[in-house]
Symmetry: D2
Subunit: 349 residues, 4 copies
């Protein structure tokens, strides 16, 4: 974990500041009235209605969970039969950075080599076919669920067409589709994507709308478009330690995020700041790829990296060769214009 | 789950209102500054220091988890070897109301018959001896951890002497001791108890200081007095889906609760309101037992129960005989004087 | 575990001698011919056909597993949904002597107080009703499967009527029925029982025909009368470590056991020997209860117990009072007439 | 699973015939005497002593388990802490063909790309270093155990020097070493290997001596050279459903296998038959690699493959290009001279 000083310009990640003012205000407004527990309160119900509306999924089941690992581990576990595993990009969060939570739930992660952080319908089709044709398949883990992150861990997005194809391929082979939307706001606001919340609700069997990295203090909204797909999901969430007594602690936040398109606006703002930074990096020839969301990847000469690191809090990514360092610069709802100005000035200096 | 209308007097439980004003203020004050993730921020660290001080355990490891089931399931799992089970009162929360979370982690709950919600050192001693003397013990689950709730699910408390005895008996037989402090504020403030936080930290191998039911919006503070007792606990917490990216979301709340003895004052206030209600119940001959904390149990004639239920939100407990109903009345930091006055008036009417 | 010398008369249990001569002969006859693996060989298939015929269940799925704990742990796990638990007598094997194997699979054992080792349809009905009526049921483990042992751990048997009632009650509440037949031969041969293999196959959703304690060298035959009830059961058996590469190692044994009613004759022989011993015990007033199968329980004056123990290998059961000791005497297919004669003589002496 | 007719020459695998005559004889000799249960009998103890002697590990703990998946799943589970995963070749059995048994036990398989079925000390060193240097390691699965198969799934063997290096690298990074010896007889008898049982016992923390594929009817002997390394291993074996009541059913077999070097002789015989087949394949230019143990891999023109398949039972492996098919030909203790003669004649025809 980084121990960076915050006197530096803050571009390490998108969960380094508390919560959007509207979210904090909504939390403050929970005071002074008794409410019923475990998500049955009116604030949670209002948030659920807003989500159902935004997803164009009036029958959807919506549950509020505390964090991303919890949402992923719980939903992947309940969507899989015990003889099935989850298909994911080898760069996918569940494949590498969940501390074994998926396996602790009893399931194998079947990895596919990612390209730009993404996997394709053809790869899924290929894996399913290979499994079916293998004479030893009864001794193997059956692919049962496709895990996607939108945007991916590299900030790229699946286009609507890609999502359509993946959903089609997965369902044709009896697999569910699950979308990890930890940073979904930034994908929804991407100028390059045309998959809306309603598209995702139509194409995925379950997904979550990320709060923690998109302006909430904490919390993720798990959406199951076809209510009842997972019997006794409430109890299963409790069993996974993921049920809050005071459901409104997350419900109120999602109410604020979903009202007046705040969620989309948060995404747009961060993406625009990322684009500004990318422009400055491109001018210097440092930009690794045009950012599609709020994460900008740059390849810096080591000397530039060292100098920049003294003034900017950014994430070391990898060392592509002896002389260069790849870094990630992330923006968020909390990114200040003046901090971007300062970073751009540093880059141009 | 209750679907009670809140036009009624609110005595259903202690997690029916948002959070103590100081807690909400602390959350509001997290705004506007970058902080480091996963509990490494200064607010969380300050809260940990306050807890270590209150526990007189300067070396203690403190982790902030989202809720009680999560804290119980995670800590019981990591404290037990795979061949061990957890010893609990048959009325204990982990024995009945965790939706199987303990077993989902692979462990058996070994129940002992409770008396007033409590188990005794003699029972633990007896269970350990019975296990050791059983020729088939290698085919059985070894008792490896004693689970206590302080106060218990019936609102009773273990006295310091009882805790000393239980801790001694458990440790003498190689068992750990874990205390579920979901409602710990009310126990610490009990006039009948003399076990302090420092006592608990001295006698238990792990415990949690309850937030959700004691004035926080959500969150529990897990304390392991001997840091390092559970290797890689941080990773294990992550694996159990219990690690918040924005640790300060709980840290800030516990900072507020621990400052200026707020936690104790919350307990005292609720206990005093409970005592007032108990007094009124006793006058009518309805009181089941003198309350030791914030939960009052009453046995009402069915007719009284029905009449009261129309005006008061209380919890049905059981039906001791054809003509009577046992109910629970719970107070909290949020209980208003006027609501207690109104309840007392109703009881005297 | 007993470390008894076998110079003593051998009545400790029913798995203390190798295997019935016909079983050993069948194993010897597996030599000299290639066979296909994982139970697809012709010997296994022949045994399955014999079992299907004996069960009057021509569509039944039959799998050969190595031992009882494995059969119980595997089948209970695959028959339960993750939010369900298994209902068992508190004296049931899965409740006490499986070293936590059920919980290691993630499931709670919901115990009911046994009477003569048995539970009743009324108890199951009561548990299901209590669950349904509990407002907190969504926070609890749902009863999903009834576990019975036939005969029970105390050697008693469920009558056909009792099995009919239990099956009816369980199914009426959406629960499966699973019968642990570790000692099934002795139950089938009981003069007091009228439940046949076909009855069990009709009333249970899954069960196993015990080999290890009924004349086999090892192995149990799991029967699922409705093939396909558990999707991908073959893979799940493999996942539980319970699939033998050389399936005929068990298949050949069950072929021998099922041919010419050997299985029944093994049961009858052992039950008759048990009856002779019971008669001698009754003459002295030592018999605890008339044995229904191959296990005889006796209450001996401590002095008699000590004297007998020097000559006879029997199982200590419990100490009902200061002056007496309860013991179990078990017969099997391997019990010799002369050993029973000697035991009877000792008892009469 | 293959449904091959056994009128063909039997070279599909090494577990297609019952058991070596000495093993069947040993099983027959278990008759007629009472023995104590759960592996405490004298036959099992004698086999354990023979194994300890052969391993030059007088203090070793030895347990007899039913099959390979069971041995792997049990031992990997008990050797790993819950936050650790097992390192294996991507071609390793636990990575692909255990039906998810490792993950069902809660652990991730961390795969390394294999070369000739093997992984190297340098790869293990690299993985450990990469983990240690990763700032996010607390969010990742720690490598805790190295899984090797000797011989590998491709029939290759680790040389003594390679085993020394791997053991050193693993232990230097706090990892255990576990060797899957499903086909260990063939590795021990390899002319190219110089790692003895004693070497393996010295270099590995646990391993199993394979029975099923090396002449036994079923069963594997798990060896833990340092007794007590895994506390309560007996109970854990029971919990994993892997404890036989009649331990001698496996113990007697291993007694036979270990006496008079039968195990080694079984390996030698099979390896020599494999060498004869390889010679004939080489003459035709079909040999893929010189066999190191009992598995011979050949690349056949598709036409040759089709023709051969009609007369020989062999295993399809993969299709390296449009015109060729790779197959595996396996010998065993049961391979008959005349069948090899016939195969050689077919190849030369």
């Amino acid at each position: 974990m980084s121990t960076s000083s915050f006197a530096k310009l803050p571009f390490a990640s998108d969960y380094m500041e508390s919560a959007h003012p509207s979210v904090l205000a909504a939390l403050a407004q929970t005071a002074g009235q008794p409410m019923s527990g475990y998500g049955t309160d009116h604030m949670s119900e209002e948030a659920r209605e807003l989500i159902r509306h935004a997803c164009d999924a009036p029958q959807a089941e919506v549950h509020f969970l505390s964090g991303g690992t919890q949402a992923n581990a719980t939903m992947i576990d309940v969507l899989l039969a015990p003889y099935q595993g989850v298909v994911a990009a080898d760069t996918g969060h569940v494949a590498s950075h969940e501390a074994g939570a998926i396996e602790a739930g009893g399931h194998k992660v079947l990895t596919l080599p990612a390209r730009d952080g993404k996997i394709s319908a053809a790869q899924i089709e290929g894996l399913a076919t290979q499994y079916l044709k293998d004479e030893n398949r009864d001794h193997m883990v059956m692919p049962g669920l496709v895990y996607l992150s939108q945007p991916t861990e590299l900030g790229t997005i699946y286009t609507l067409e890609e999502l359509e194809d993946i959903s089609h391929a997965a369902h044709a082979h009896g697999m569910h589709v699950y979308v990890d939307g930890a940073r979904l706001a930034y994908a929804l606001a991407s100028t390059q994507d045309n998959a809306s919340l309603a598209d995702i609700a139509r194409l995925a069997d379950a997904f979550y709308i990320g709060g923690t990295k998109c302006g909430a203090l904490f919390g993720e909204a798990v959406v199951v478009p076809q209510a009842g797909l997972v019997p006794h999901l409430f109890t299963l969430i409790k069993q996974h330690g993921a049920l809050l007594a005071k459901g409104w602690a997350i419900g109120a936040q999602f109410g604020a995020l979903l009202r007046d398109d705040l969620y989309l606006r948060i995404g747009e703002g961060a993406n625009q700041q990322a684009a500004r930074i990318a422009q400055a990096l491109a001018e210097r020839g440092f930009l690794a790829a045009t950012p599609q969301t709020n994460q900008v990847f740059a390849i810096l000469p080591n000397e530039t990296y060292r100098a920049l690191s003294e003034r900017v809090d950014l994430s070391f990514w990898e060392r592509p060769d002896e002389a260069h360092t790849m870094v990630r610069i992330a923006t968020s709802w909390a990114t200040r214009d003046e901090d971007v100005d300062a970073l751009v000035a540093l880059l141009r200096a």
